[in-house]
Symmetry: C2
Subunit: 335 residues, 2 copies
């Protein structure tokens, strides 16, 4: 039976959505879930749940890393945090995957240091799935702030992203694009020009350069970029989506007709916020670590946690890391 360690303390609304999502996932997908955190807090939350919670166990961790904690400092100081214990459970083979809605930087640090990196991988990559205009999902990686990437890193991101896309979204032959500033091969910076031909030689369906607007066009499934660019891209999307929703609200207040329009279309607005929310797509996996680690949005609700557990267990079940190792060993893409 697949076992998933879930950080019960990490999210903005912890532990409620974490506990509820875990119970839902355990039932629906036949999984064993270890809720990692302060046992009294978790048990109090479990007591509110009416369903049977047989497949749920508590893995004690006395400390909590807060969203506003400095990732590296928190990792050094709070050694019995739910993030430490969760990643250690995977490292020790007691869990197949770790899911957290907590401090992204701290989870990434713990996963890299405690779980370790796969032998063929130089740098792990955080892959963010989001909806596109074609009604499917596109994945951008790295969004985890691995800066000053070398060409080999981008090659590894392409291979890992393509395998993740196949496993998580059931596509047989995902299209992989390189984020740049023009479609032609010669368009781009030193890094993209150096990696273009080598991406063509990979055993993935590389379709060439894509531009910023292609994040949403659905032209490609997997978009590869350096983590500085990817992190800025992700935050622009979050910031702009939020501003547009605010602007909508404000604009609707203009006329009586607009106000009525707003009242009648509140449901539609909520739908849009949901569609823009990447936690609906199962959270962002940290690819390249030994084990499976999925990070979801701090604001994740129970459904988002459930989705993240589903994706994490799917990746574990399909042995994502054996596939990554196998494919990377064929490509010799080491820095």
């Amino acid at each position: 039976m697949i076992t998933i360690a879930v950080d019960a303390m990490g999210g903005d609304h912890a532990p409620r959505p974490e506990v509820e999502g875990s119970v839902l996932a355990a039932h629906e997908y036949g999984l064993r879930v270890l809720l990692v955190g302060q046992p009294n807090v978790i048990r109090a939350e479990l007591a509110n749940i009416s369903r049977p919670t047989g497949a749920i166990e508590v893995a004690p961790a006395s400390e909590v890393i807060a969203m506003e904690d400095h990732p590296a400092q928190a990792f050094r100081r709070k050694k019995d945090s739910s993030v430490h214990v969760g990643t250690r459970l995977v490292k020790e083979g007691l869990a197949d995957a770790f899911v957290s809605a907590g401090n992204t930087g701290a989870v990434m640090t713990a996963a890299k240091i405690i779980m370790g990196t796969l032998p063929s991988v130089d740098r792990v990559a955080l892959a963010a799935p989001f909806p596109n205009a074609k009604g499917s999902v596109s994945v951008l990686l790295d969004v985890g702030a691995n800066v000053d990437s070398k060409p080999e890193h981008l090659l590894q991101f392409a291979v890992m992203g393509e395998i993740y896309y196949r496993l998580a979204f059931g596509s047989r032959r995902p299209r992989v694009g390189l984020l740049s500033i023009g479609e032609e091969e010669i368009k781009g910076n030193e890094l993209t020009r150096a990696v273009y031909d080598r991406l063509r030689d990979l055993p993935v369906q590389f379709v060439g350069n894509v531009e910023g607007n292609d994040l949403f066009s659905g032209k490609v499934d997997v978009i590869v970029c350096d983590g500085f660019v990817g992190n800025i891209a992700l935050k622009i999307c979050e910031g702009l989506a939020m501003e547009i929703v605010k602007l909508l609200r404000k604009t609707y207040k203009g006329s009586l007709a607009s106000q009525l329009g707003y009242l009648l279309s509140r449901g539609a607005l909520k739908g849009i916020k949901r569609t823009m929310d990447y936690s609906e797509y199962g959270g962002a996996p940290l690819l390249g670590v030994r084990g499976v680690c999925v990070i979801t949005h701090g604001k994740s609700n129970a459904n988002a946690i459930k989705n993240a557990i589903r994706v994490a267990s799917g990746l574990a079940r399909a042995r994502v890391n054996e596939r990554i190792e196998q494919e990377l060993s064929l490509t010799h893409a080491r820095a």
Copy 2:
């Protein structure tokens, strides 16, 4: 009297918005406008205008660079294009500024090669203004795809962007931020870490690193970045704004209440599209060229053209380039 050369042939709907916008601007701001392009086409359009068009003259250019033309090729082959003639008019002192809604790459190439670069500037920068959550404007530069910037380039961008912001938006002390992946000084890539301290030494109000979401937060007025990052950022914004508007339309079709809501709020939706449209803010100036060159969106209407002419004439009148030269000569920020 300030003279502005306007590319009458470049935009998606040329020459109508170009001609109308020019006539409006000439009257409202007391300017002389040279409409650059095919005389018969321009005269036919002028004949439709009821107002007096005394301050409008036609500057003949026989060729037209299309949006889909390859910028560098078009620049080499169509030597009598409106873009060539318009930039030459500035070079020869016959116009104070050139405004175009045409092929951005071709205009940038022509401006750089024909007008030339200021003595203290290593690289020109395209500065994109857009609305922020505080109801004012933020400016991102470079968005013109100057890749692999050196620290000195970013320093020059900061100085030029700050001067442009002061002149175009009437701010006495604009706040300047460096686009990065975290607020702390140590967060970022090789480039941002190398330039951070040097930005602090500039005679501008440097407020530190800002993140992707700060493009819209209104936390800073001027945001400096490498052109690879800036170009991707700009295209993400355009792509995402377009997708959200599409998504809104689609979502509204869901229920009868939503449909009614949509009908009642169409005005609001149009307002949002307008607010997101950077041509409302006077177009994007190409900073660092000898002369003034402002590029507006290909879809610019007469009002956007008028706004671009207003900004261009304001920059020319305020002698933006003398100020840039003066300030850069104090900073010794050469690559």
